[in-house]
Symmetry: C2
């Protein structure tokens, strides 16, 4: 079950829209609003959601935090400030792991833009969720806090991953050896391997340099073509 994002007393409709966009980017769709300052629906939310309308349309409004999380056995309070509350504190990655493993629905509380969550809100939660942040500059806004939590949660969700299989396969070793041999033949003809006592080291340097790129068969063919062209040029000159 996907976690529920609860915005507690949000002020600007624009920020509710941005939070919806952040959620949907990472596959979260259930938003709950506790007494939004300017009522609900809010005409400023839609444009800021940049197309995440489905989240706003389904958003439910509640009169209290307790009502908003009444069906959730696991409640996290997102707060950056240290409070006099002794509860387990987790970061977004740890919260994501817990939420995926949790039997039952999880709710994550986010406070109002300026003031954050009140102590009473935090007291309702079993766990505090804190984003580790630059101690000299902690200025995370509502949508940013939501996106980091949603992003961490999404990691285990099998979203589109980088297309690893599309990477080209390096050419088989024999073809790389063909290129190295080609270089060596040409360079041998050109007097490159000098002085004689350095030949071993020089050849090794060249081999390592040519092995490093992991060139594909096509790229090796291109390089062979380059060498042949240089070879022909040289021959035609002589």
């Amino acid at each position: 079950m996907n976690p529920v994002i609860v915005l507690v007393r949000p002020q600007l409709g624009e920020n509710i829209g941005k939070a919806a966009r952040a959620m949907l980017n990472f596959g979260l769709t259930e938003m709950r609003l506790v007494t939004p300052r300017d009522g609900w629906p809010n005409p400023s939310a839609g444009p800021a959601a940049s197309g995440a309308d489905v989240v706003l349309e389904r958003a439910q409004v509640f009169e209290s935090v307790a009502d908003a999380v009444a069906d959730c056995p696991h409640v996290y309070a997102t707060t950056v400030r240290k409070r006099g509350v002794t509860k387990p504190v987790v970061n977004p990655a740890e919260a994501a792991a817990e939420i995926h493993a949790a039997p039952g629905r999880c709710a994550i509380l986010f406070g109002a833009e300026r003031s954050g969550l009140a102590t009473e809100d935090v007291n309702l939660a079993r766990t505090i969720l804190t984003v580790p942040i630059n101690p000299q500059f902690g200025s995370l806004n509502l949508a940013q806090a939501v996106i980091l939590v949603a992003y961490e949660w999404s990691k285990a969700q099998g979203l589109v991953q980088p297309p690893r299989t599309e990477l080209d396969v390096p050419a088989p070793q024999a073809e790389l050896e063909g290129l190295i041999g080609h270089f060596e033949r040409l360079l041998g003809d050109s007097g490159y391997y000098y002085p004689p006592e350095r030949v071993g080291v020089t050849r090794l340097t060249l081999r390592n340099l040519l092995t490093k790129p992991g060139w594909t068969e096509q790229e090796l063919r291109t390089m062979r073509g380059v060498l042949s062209a240089l070879e022909g040029k040289k021959r035609s000159r002589s």
Copy 2:
């Protein structure tokens, strides 16, 4: 060395400011701008940076992407779109691990708000950085992309972590046994353990329930006080 964030042809000063704020939240301070559309400095950037002025003040402007990354041996191109370029593709966590391990400076390219990076920009990079995102709704803005990359990078930086040591230590087992014994004595007196053949199971249920919270010594004392109060009340009644 901290990575350099390169904004390629950014359009709105507001978004440059938001990117600066996202960077500084996670300890990144070096921003480079490639031909920002509205010139530089841009009066809209400061207010959007919410105090991350140091990043904007130090921002350098370049005429081309090549100039902006000239001193960097490692260049990442952030793009969500699949292109006909075959380069290694990493997600933000993988990029962060590579950047921390890399000998030499890393630059991370971010494209313009609407169009993203051009193919020529991507061609300059050795690696493509992609944020895995909801395939039905990929709408990551510039500052959001920057914050996710900066956040992942910051994880290895020893930022303020949740204050784990402040959590209360559960009371020693002997004190928990004292509470369990107190409960059992009271309940035995009250006729709670009925029918007799269920006593074993009932006691086990109670033991598990009382073991689960991990109460501290103080909390155990509170519970003992509660029981004593109930006991006294009962006695005074009888």
